[in-house]
Amino acid sequence: MKRKNEAVSLDSLDWKILKALQENSKQTYSEVGRQLGVAHSTVYDRIRKMEENGVIKKWTVDIDHEKIGINYVTARMTVYTDPKETENVAKKLSEAKQVLEVSMSLSEELLIIAKVIARNQEELHSFIAKKVAPLQGVLRIRTSIVTKKIKEERILVEKK
């Protein structure tokens, strides 16, 4: 049985399928197969296997919110915590729908860095004031509101 966090071994065809899907996940099995010179059933089997073992976590869609008139306020929130409570604070933040990403950093102090979204600045402040600041172990919070996004890409994994 595969243990949690154990790396899954992929062969060269798996890597090529992943590369093709990262570029365009809307392609059919036949289209991917044609590019790679294999049958669509082979592509189907490989994708299903990668879904089963968690290599492909989910299928989603990348929406341009501005195009449909939804202008969220995005912020990077740095939460300074009591080291004894960091894990708990990170867990609580992860449960909030306003929080899209939560990471921990050990630079000079143990910090939690989170990406937060809200409909407007007031809603953002209200979330941080009412839901984040009162958490046990939160010492202080620095928040930077994103005013302009220059680049946003997902990492393209390729075989080394």
Binding site: M77, E122, I128, A129, P134, L139
Partner: protein, 109 residues
Amino acid sequence: MTPTSSTRILRTLPRENAFYFFTSAGNYTGQRAMSLEEFVTKIREISTESLEFHFYRGDFEKWAAEVLEDSELTRRIKAVKLLEPVGNNLRDQLDFTVSKRLEELKSAE
């Protein structure tokens, strides 16, 4: 003012109802007040930047009304706005107003 209502206003609050001091949207100073008495202490210590941020957003009067449920303190904080104080003048005005109310409540207990 009955002793019961004074005691209620002066109570120590649960963490989620404390007043958390920010300097701007999302920037928490790490200072909080869990009672009216502690609020007076913090007014004397906290940066004027934080006092101005909360005062002109109406956060102090909102906390007095919705959390402490002290309509008299709410009215008096609102009245300070007419003076449009800033900086240490704001600190002094708030300190004077809230300290006076705290004394009244303590003597009514």
